[in-house]
Symmetry: C2
Subunit: 366 residues, 2 copies
């Protein structure tokens, strides 16, 4: 079993091992509050059919009463309305402030359940069992949770650290290939931020789902990403400074998602484009060489064809970038590779450079 | 000006002075984030008509753009629905994560605005300008905020400390007498918890609204309560232990509010009954003398006639007590006076004693 420590205000550990879901009861018991009697699992119908029985069995064996709150599958259910419903489900089944909430799912379930755990009776204990690769390497680590508002994504949220994260790579076998590989762009992000060895590992791992899932380096890949994120988050839990480097690829990425109504790209795919664009900017500003830019482009492209950029207007995209939550006083903030394994934050990219590169980027239809 | 320090994870100060609302701009500027440009005032229509002009003037003078989000007046508007609307109002007027939210109002506005400030973009800076006596001595201090769920009051919330609390006792002149005096029972609570001098002050202050409001001891009274609450909160920000003593009078108080559908009693009035009941229990358990119990009863009664207890069933009330958020595994937790100026927490009150005293309490129709 691989163990990654996360040093936040309340420190915890991430555990990674194939088949771990069947031992989740013991891990949860070790971190549950002393008076915990009930455990509420927040998940969706599909995942509940796939894994709820196994998680429940290991919890019941230890004497816990297990209750379920199902939510809809998909980003459009990440709303305060769903929070209201889930809280109703918890209250009517008598969950108390000394009990515990488990998020069993991907980013949507994790975000919603984290927000509920952070606000139900002003906060109850929380455990993540991420079931997508994106959640395993990224969203389940770091304590950010949020729901959407119709005027903006992730606009209402809290920082809520889990007591532990239980990662079982075997559950990824039920993921569609597109979803699996969309997550790899976030892995590329971690490599660029902090780890040139991870970059090399990503270059050589299999590029088909079945081969990747049975490759013994998958756990190492997940662990590397968790380690980097945990390390950054440990130094800046509330995103006041350094944590911003995790936004590499996200300035353009979020803008692409916004202008396409969150329909065309998986989040990771938009980040894939964002990473390529950040590399172009970095090359233009002399932070990386042409060779390094090519290496980054090639790695991003190796995970399959990204959805097309056809019909996206550079002016509209620039507007979306300026309105981003990360922008300060309308000035776009970019995280840029500075070599491979190091990044810098820049809010001084001249608007002409930005516009020119964006036009070129959209025209080349990468 | 009286200044009370609050030592939480992020420490801040409470300022108390008559007429202070007209200088709120300077106080807010001193605590606002560096890049703060917009200030959003969350309030209701009535308060906005009374005070918004004055607060706005002092902020505009300093160059801030002031935006308003109005919410309904009353506990029934303390919902996630209102949060959704207020967040929409903030987003559509471009409030950013470096800006600041002001709660201008009583407990309902403070709770709702605190929850919004704690969750909007995962938290923005927050200032309280409480406009009721209850908010000035109690709810604006300590960082608890929450909204209601149809299955329970204050069930969804966060801990969100303000950057400062600006208390202007002159704004209390627009309060109905009943609301003013309902708050005095919370002041009695603070006296019983920690301060026998405050107990004596409460015995001698005027018992009519106009006389109380023009009495120069009013600021001292408010400051004493804030000081005690700040002191308790400083030692236990997240209510894991000592902070529970602030629940004196609230076990029965909340139960009375619940079984009467929050219609019959003002919160403070229910706490007034709760304090008397806690004194009866304390007397029964030998924690206070008959003379001390009489002193407490007399002080509570001196603030006017409490709404009647007619028609409240002791069995139903006992059930509500057992279901309280503070109960641990169904066992009621009571904070009891242990002399005047000291309390103890007890979860071992025998159910027979509880039932017998409750029957007597309801029969005597105090």
């Amino acid at each position: 079993m691989l163990t990654i420590p996360v040093r936040t205000a309340e420190s915890y550990e991430i555990f990674i091992e194939r088949g771990l879901i069947d031992r989740s009861g013991q891990i949860i018991r070790a971190v549950a509050p002393q008076n915990c009697r009930k455990i509420a699992i927040i998940t969706n119908r599909r995942l509940s059919e796939l894994y709820a029985g196994r998680v429940t069995a290991t919890l019941r064996e230890l004497g816990y009463e297990v209750i379920f709150c199902l939510m809809g599958d998909g980003e459009r259910f990440k709303t305060l309305r769903t929070v209201e419903k889930v809280v109703g489900c918890l209250l009517s089944q008598g969950l108390g402030r000394h009990d515990l909430i488990v998020a069993l799912g991907g980013g949507v379930v994790g975000d919603l359940a984290g927000f509920v755990a952070g606000t139900f009776m002003r906060g109850v204990a929380f455990v993540q069992i991420p079931t997508t690769l994106l959640a395993q390497i990224d969203s389940s680590v770091g304590g950010k949770s949020a729901v959407n508002h119709k005027l903006g994504k992730n606009m209402i949220g809290v920082f809520k650290q889990p007591r532990t994260v239980i990662i079982d790579p075997d559950v990824l076998s039920t993921l569609p290939q597109r979803e699996l590989f969309a997550a790899m762009y976030e892995a590329v992000k971690y490599a660029l931020i902090a780890d040139s060895d991870l970059f090399e590992l990503l270059e050589v791992v299999p590029k088909t789902a079945s081969a990747l899932l049975s490759d013994r380096r998958l756990e190492e890949l997940i662990a590397c990403c968790c380690y980097i994120k945990a390390d950054v988050v440990s130094r800046d839990e509330r995103e006041t400074g350094e944590r911003k480097i995790l936004n590499l690829g996200h300035t353009l990425g979020h803008a692409l998602e916004t202008v396409t109504g969150y329909n065309r790209f998986k989040h990771g795919e938009a980040v894939g484009y964002g990473i390529m664009f950040a590399s172009s900017l970095a090359k233009e500003l002399g932070l990386i060489t042409k060779e390094q830019q090519d290496k980054i482009y090639n790695l991003v492209r190796s995970f399959g064809r990204l959805p097309s950029l056809d019909g996206i207007d550079s002016g509209v995209l620039l507007g979306a970038i300026a309105k981003d939550k990360k922008s300060v006083a309308g000035r776009a903030v970019f995280v840029l590779p500075n070599g491979i394994g190091k990044v810098v934050i820049r809010d001084d990219v001249p608007i002409e450079v930005l516009g020119r590169l964006l036009n070129r980027f959209l025209e080349q239809g990468l």
